[in-house]
Amino acid sequence: MGKLFFYVALALVLVSGVLFAPETAGLAIHPMDQFTVTPLFGGDHIAWYTPTNVTLWMFFAVVAVFALLVFGSANRGIVPSRAQSVAELAYGFIYKMVEDVAGKDAVKFFPYIITLFMFIVTANFLGLIPMSFTTTSHFAVTGLLAVVVFVAITITGFVLHGVKFLGLFWVSSAPLALRPVLALIEVISYFVRPVSLCIRLAGNVMAGHAVLKVFAGFAGALGAASFLPIFAITAFYALEVLVAFIQAYVFTILTCVYLKDALHPSH
């Protein structure tokens, strides 16, 4: 059955490549246009409160999270339904991550961390829907996420340990002469953390989507041979599905690692 579908799809792609090839095969590639923020209800001006496609797709993310975690677990089954198992899986996955990476006393931060994870992972996956807008491809979004994590963790560290939190930068196991140098490096690496969090997530998502668009542009330009880039898009799309999850995972686990530093700053 699956094989049959595969051959039908293959035939469809080949035929459509021949029939629907553009008459003027021009190379019109605008990979970055998909990231443009546009107001939903017309107009050119974008104020901070204007409902834009960002608003729309963030709303969809909220709906998806709500559907998965609230509707999915509505039955409270001892034997879970499919949606409920996914909800439980997400819960257990993040809970275990927080507990294992950041320690048992980090469990009180679990709701914040799963909020981050659920937002990023749903936004990433929603961004993979053709024609959609990917909120996590914007530095404004990932930057704010990173800054929130950075500020929250720094404040937590100082609240819990006071000035001793600065011991995080003073590597007491190193020779005394090296410590100031190491301290400088540690401080720099500490402040680079939010930047790397921000750039890694947005960069990965943006690059993947842009590459998909570039291949799509090739498909328009190649005429009858357009099935080649379409296969490439299919393969790359699979990779993007992987990246969508892995980047959410990486962001979350790094947050847990940083949180562990804030809770137990001694080296």
Binding site: M32, M58, I78, Q84, I114, T115, P130
Partner: protein, 181 residues
Amino acid sequence: MATTTHDAGHGAADAAHGSSGMPQLDFSTYGNQIFWLLVTLVVIYLILSRVALPRIAGILNERQGTITNDLAAAEDLKAKAVEAENAYNKALADARSEAQRIVAETRAEIQVGVDEAIAKADAEIAAKAEESEKAIAEIRATALDNVKIVASDTASALVAALGGKDDTDTIAAAVAKRTEV
């Protein structure tokens, strides 16, 4: 994917009105994105912390409780089964020993009866034997007397026939002498 290419073409027309290069670096949209992101995060946080997380934690706890209870119940039932088996074995052993006891008792009872009967039979046999001996002795005695009578009669007849005098005392003495055993 056909729609995606269409979108690209459509975007090309739009791209004319500015925002060349990366839309990510268009700082005029930052305020908008940050505002809506904050709203989204707060909403997701409220949904998760108020509804979803407590509910899922409850489900997981409940399941753990159910599993623990079921395991305990299974352990209980297993213990009961072992107990029942032991009781069964004990009942079997009891019945067996009871049967053996009854067999031994019955055998002893029968033995007593048999012994009694044997003793009685022996006594009867002994009595009969004694009686018979007595009868035999009597018969022998009478036989001896008859012999004496016949002998004395014969002797007196012989004596008379020979012309002798019938001397009863002499004959009796002679008979007694001869018949002495």
